[in-house]
Subunit: 466 residues, 2 copies
């Protein structure tokens, strides 16, 4: 009898792979080891859970452990940590509630995800300092701002966090997705928000133009922005009382640290699995590592960028789901590429939608061998006469030599998050700016001007590329 | 001295061509003859003007005649009708306020647009019966439902329509774009709306699935739908009082007839310019007719469909603008294709967005040589846990032999009108369903589930095409 397929990690990539594998090869066995309690949960939803727009942590779960076991016939073991991989013997060492054991595998998928980076700051250990690294952390923060955390099912949300009197202010360290989304969550709960970003701009992957527009909006919403400001320490006596940054000492009642994520590669590296230049696990177009029997997918793995054709590490939910599903299909016997990534992403920042795809930094484009040219336009979201429209700002990057579109960022009050997809599709098809500008896109007065803003940006870019 | 470029018709295609030509060849002359008073107006905005969401007709105009003359240096003559083309002499006969004259041309663009079809019904001449064929008609209808029509500039909106006491009901004949948009406009003004459609479904270009969803919604909104119902006559004594259809005699105070548009080809045909199978003027990829010196663009002309590669007639605003602009560029010396069409379109129907692109009728696909396979899916517009989401229904058509996506329709409360553009881009790039399903599209909980509904539809279609 062949050994089962084994999956390490029960979130997006792991559960997508296990589900697809069992659907396509129902007679074969798959075992998933998840070191935590939660599987297949939407970590992207935590900011909305913290502010109370989502009632329970359970609501974030798309498929429960029971459903995976009973409906999908997956041998899912939560609270089981894989501690080592023996590639020669094709076994993994597992530490579970009933002790340690070995599990043989025929094929192994490493889907260990990423973790919140903990910066080496004094004061990280103080009460009232959080990272949003887990479901538990989400519950802790929610309780810290005075909201209830309804217990659900067996997964009671216990916490060692001691509730305190109503906090009035919060310092957020890091202006990425998490920082921006949490700024909105805290502000909506009535807290004064201080956001610290060491770079000149927030939302680094979205480029300086979109970020500057977001920052104006954040300030209008009352967020105290401290850009270009490295935090020196979180201070307090047992409990956070201030953020020290340069000359300033900003008093806060809570602190949230969100300075990015790093791939969990320790298990893989200890077993001699190669990582790439990005630090994530190197894979081929089918998710295979340097060991033919070991795959990697999701936030711990690299993927190929559709514009640069180089390995990249963009830990996002769709990439993880898609790669997991493809590997499940491959393992079931139907070789399926994991798909290329364009780094397409969107984020809500109070009343703004921000989106990006492809390469939008000229330096990155140059490094990849392109001769980048960039344009920025603004165009209305609706027909000029239709009430309620607003402006969409688009920055689009092209390559002078080939005429190709390399990427774009967008920001506006409506019609942004999904408009970026048109550009993403153009990137996958390697369209020139000229070609993108001549697509037949939808027009109706309530939804778009006759020339969609994407067409206008591409038209202006094509003119500049001539 | 060369004769000027002459354009017949001062709306989207004509004014786009004239503007681009003068921008690229400022030393050359262009004369535009427009038989009416209005140029470059957004006819698509008339339903919103009628219901009062747009205040004046002038608001629908994107560039005024004065601006065309003074800022763009275009010799624009409103109230000038071109009555004949002499292709041998390269002149047109013009009937203007100061009499008739001949105008020589070096190159001619026919941009005569389309007209509302007037069905051969008894009662079309009654008071209170309208078609939405012109700016004037928009003002007349608005006045008929008791709203003011503010006069603007010199273009006073005179009317021979005699105001009557408050109408309480309206019969709309035809369930296309105009019928649906006007149903919303009338209903919002408090009128009882009867909508008559002779086919089994409204919104024919959007396919039966999307139409059925729209129809349920129209009924929920109180619209009285009479599907599969041919109107026999509009009846009344001097003034409309009822719509006669089969056994029914539905009393109404007003009637609006919107049964489609037909290309204005009389002028071209009289001069021996060929029309195609669709009845519109036949053109090549650069907008040229069978006469090398005569171009045609906009609602009077055919264009090449990106999926079937055949000439088609889809009178929409972007097609007209784009072709006009390309021809202007070509006439200025830079040969530019007018671009292919996908028939991409969107419409608002009360609280629903409806959109379509490509080929969605299996019979049309078969006729074009495809072996069509279709799927219909529903998927959420936002992450399942994010408040306020709704369902999007997508029907997607693919070709069994090539695996290509042929087209799609979509309907839902949000995120539909511009989501169709992703599919439109895929059609232009001749993507297979498999490839479309592996695009890296944007995900964020407020805007999309992890697998965008377009990806889900493509995934299901790809599975069925295998």
């Amino acid at each position: 009898m062949t050994a089962p397929v084994v999956v390490v990690g029960g979130d997006a990539a792991g559960m997508s792979a296990a589900s697809k594998f069992k659907r396509d090869a129902p007679d074969r066995e798959v075992v998933v080891f998840e070191r935590g309690e939660w599987v297949s949960y939407g970590a992207c939803g935590l900011p909305y859970y913290v502010k109370g727009a989502v009632e329970t942590l359970e609501d974030l779960v798309s498929v429960t452990p029971e459903e995976f076991v009973e409906q999908r016939d997956i041998d899912l073991r939560t609270n089981h940590e894989v501690t080592a991989i023996d590639r020669e013997a094709q076994t993994v060492s597992v530490d579970g509630p009933d002790g340690e054991f070995e599990q043989a595998y025929s094929e192994l998928l490493i889907a260990t995800g990423a973790r919140a980076v903990e910066p080496p700051l004094d004061g990280m250990e103080l009460d009232g300092v959080f990272t949003l690294h887990s479901m538990q952390a989400g519950a802790d923060i929610r309780r810290a701002i005075g909201l209830e955390t309804p217990a659900v099912d067996a997964r009671e949300v216990a916490s060692d966090y001691a509730d305190t009197e109503d906090p009035e202010s919060v310092g957020i360290i890091g202006g990425g997705y998490v920082g921006i989304e949490m700024a909105e969550a805290f502000a909506e709960r009535g807290l004064d928000v201080h956001l610290f970003e060491m770079l000149p701009h927030t939302l680094q992957p979205f480029g300086a133009n979109a970020a500057a527009t977001v920052e104006r909006h954040l300030r209008e919403q009352g967020v105290d922005l401290h850009l270009d400001t490295a935090v020196d320490a979180i201070t307090g006596d047992g409990r956070v009382s201030a953020i020290a940054a340069g000359d300033a000492d900003v008093p806060v009642d809570l602190a949230l640290v969100g300075v990015g994520v790093a791939p969990n590669t320790k298990l893989a590296e200890a077993a001699g699995i190669d990582t790439g230049e990005t630090g994530a696990i190197a894979t081929d177009g089918y998710g295979r590592t340097n060991d033919d029997h070991v795959y990697a997918a999701g936030d711990c793995a690299e993927a190929t960028h559709v514009v640069t054709d180089e390995p990249d590490h963009v830990p996002l939910a769709l990439t993880a789901n898609r790669a997991g599903r493809a590997i499940g299909q491959t393992l079931a016997g139907d070789e399926t590429p994991v798909g290329e990534i364009a780094g397409t992403a969107a984020v809500k920042a109070f009343d703004l939608e921000v989106a990006r795809t492809g390469v939008i930094e000229e330096s990155v484009a140059r490094e990849a061998g392109f001769d980048p040219v960039s344009v920025t336009i603004t165009a209305p979201s609706r027909a000029h006469y239709y009430p309620g429209g607003s402006e969409i700002e688009i920055t689009m990057l092209g390559d002078r030599e080939s005429g190709r579109v390399l990427g774009a960022s967008m920001v506006g009050r409506e019609g942004v998050a999904k408009r970026i997809d048109t550009v993403a599709a153009a990137l996958h098809a390697e369209m020139t700016a000229q070609r993108l500008s001549s697509l037949d896109l939808a027009y109706a007065p309530p939804f778009s001007p006759v020339w969609d803003p994407v067409l206008t940006a591409a038209k202006v870019l094509a003119g500049k590329l001539e």
